[in-house]
Amino acid sequence: MNKSRVTLWAACVFIGLWLIAPTLIVIPMSFNEQRSLAFPPKGFSLRWFENFFSDAQWLGGFLNSVQIALLTAVLATVLGTLAAYGLFKVKGIRESIGRNFLIIPMIIPSVIFGVGLYSLFLRLGLVGTLPGFLIAHTALAVPYVVVTVGSTLAAYNVSLERAAWVCGANKFRAFIGVTVPMLMPGILSGAFFAFITSFDEVVVSMFISSPYLQTLPVTMFAGMQREVDPTIAAAATLIMITTTAAAIGGILSQHLKRKRT
């Protein structure tokens, strides 16, 4: 390796560390023995995790988040897969309009969406309700599924589905039996990303939550503005483990696709 290449590598290692390493600091902080967020943490204890799982607010937030994220993943995956397939079948201008329309939620700042949704939900009585959260989070997560399934579809060999028709399968059976399994890598990674989108969402959730129904990031955000509480570090560690596992799942399922096609 020549000199400029070495310099390039050195710079990129630093950039990579800046991207990944700082976040890992929450892990040692969550095992702190003292009620402090000062660095370095002193001693080792599980008290903040105990505190997390015995506190109704934290545990409630966590369970709400898991439930909402799982339901969102299912809803967004079904709606997004159908949409990607439907748009794939109609070529031309209608396809590109539909596709661009479906990625609008990725572009508009979530504060604007959140405040508008809050106004709408106040009128409909959906603030602090499960259906309210599902509508908000699914709308935010659908674009990711449309993108991942759409990119799998781009490499999909349509003649396989035709073969199923020729062999006597009806459209529905061909779709479920041939198309869906072929698209599985895109569908799976879309589902993982939809889960994370919901599990991490904080801005919109802050607007539409109530003291009775809060998600974990909302509880965490409120806690961070209120006091120094290492339980927040425990919550951060749990969120990070959950989303990192889901992200690895999402990235790996996309690689599944590359190997097969």
Binding site: S4, L8, C12, I15, G16, L19, I20, P22, T23, I25, V26, L37, F39, P40, L79, L82, A83, Y85, G86, L87, K89, V90, R99, F101, L102, I104, M106, I107, I108, P109, S110, V111, I112, F113, V115, G116, S119, L120, I135, A136, T138, V142, V147, S151, F193, I196, D200, V202, V203, F207, M220, M224, Q225, A233, A236, I239, M240, T244, A247, I251
Partner: protein
Amino acid sequence: MSTKQSRTAVLAWPALLLVALGFIVPVAIILVMSVTDPQPGTQNFEWLATNSTAHDIMWRTIYIAVLATLITAVLAYPFAYLMATSSTLVRSILMVVVLLPFWTSMMVRAFAWIIILQKNGLLNTVLGAFGIEPLTILGTNTAVLIGMCQILMPFMVLPMVSVMVGIDSRLPLAARIMGAPKWKAFLQVYFPLSLPGVFAGSLIVFILSLGFYVTPALLGSPRQQLIPNALFTQVLELLSWGKGGALAVATLVMVGAVFLLLFLVAKVMGIKIGKIGGGL
């Protein structure tokens, strides 16, 4: 064929309907409120045009977005270049390095920066060991930029890489053979060819920078508000929906203007926007 096509298109309707009713309608409501709340009229835009605090907030938002874009571009370029010029294996590993943080909670990352940058945090502990006075970074725009740029990196790296992998590596080589020194071959051959990726990434990052709420709220100062934070305060604390709506309109006008620019640049330079979006 056309009837068959429209029957399959029905499959897209539930998702389209959800985005229309669950996303577009709420956004439209807050935009409309800018001219209807507290009473019909343009008072909220007059406030936006004449109030000095509102001016400060808007200029600060644009200033931070420009800085974030420049910093991210400078840091992302060498990283993307390394990715584009490495073997497939190294490229996949670097891709994971970029994508993992992309999917890590913004909240967790802001919290981590608080631990690092606070008065008795990691940074000052390390500086103290070298006998350097503690720095006050938390609660400043510097902290906001550090946190924002870290989150924005993937949006800059991915469009850059997608353009760079398409550059024929024989072109800079040809320049070398013709006697150009290394830096000249890079600067006059490779760099211009990579510019579409730089532009696309910059415009995406700029648009996203306008909408950051969590990072400025947690790492910045309440006296140095950005548009999203001001919007939040106006609506939830001051119950001034109209002013919040006006701020939303201002943001969307900026996003729209930059998006138009992205579209034109993409058209002129012949990049597929879908490709960039798909990369995310």
